[in-house]
Amino acid sequence: MKLPLATLLLWPLAPAPVRRDIEGDLEEMGLGGWAAWREVARSVPPLAGAFARRDVARCLPAALVCGPLALAVLDRFWGMVYSAIPLKEDLIRAPLAWVVNLCAITALCLAAGTALRGEGRDESRRLAFWTGVFAAAGIGVLLPVLPAAPEPGVRVLLILFPVAFTVLPAGGVPAKPADRASTDSKESEV
């Protein structure tokens, strides 16, 4: 039986072993179509609760450092630089300032994604995704309250970069031996 698209909903919330178990159970129950959607949808709240208890604390500190905290520190830095230039204080930041901000945030996100590589490919991608999402959300909240808010285009870039550049280094991680063995056995069975 081809597994329904509904199981994609499980990816951000559950680690690979739990997802495999649920997919196996759906297959064993012979559920497809709406029945599978219903079952997966009912599973989302308890899995989200488990995610909040277990994974949020693992992603949030790195997300705060790479996202809103980094941006706040950089804004302070540019504030100091601009205050040293007569009559330039509180003016719109030069494009170079935003390029530097973007590069610094990207570098931090790459570092955060790389630090997660020890978790194995699947878990690393999942945690990197959430770290990026939390960082982007933090930046999204902070941007409108900055004294010198950037252009909308720069805002979009600042929000999108953390997700992309946190997940990027996690993507190339070799799978853990246990994950690989399970994939191999599945393939040999098919």
């Binding site: 072993p17 739990v18 079952e39 009912r42 599973s43 709240p45």
Partner: protein
Amino acid sequence: MGKGAFLGEFEQVVLLAVLRLGEEAYGLSVRREIHDRTQREVAIGAVYATLDRLEQKGLVQSAAGEPVAERGGRARRCFQVTGTGRDALRQSLRTIEKLKSGLELAEGLEG
């Protein structure tokens, strides 16, 4: 006893179901056991989220079996209650008994 050793109501239910099923305890069978004995309809995700939490607390342990064709080649992950799990369950049920004893519940609430 540490805070983590106290069991929630659904944790008790899942632990009892795993104990009843013995070596046949995996997500779907636990869910079926709960349904058959209590007529309670639970989402499969709720069972796995609870089993995952119990495993982190060291109250159950899991082992992957052989791949099964009816599961699309996926293995069943079978669960067993650990000694700590039995102790925690015993303690939890004893607490309920202590609180319940001597209490006259209204008619209809008695099991």
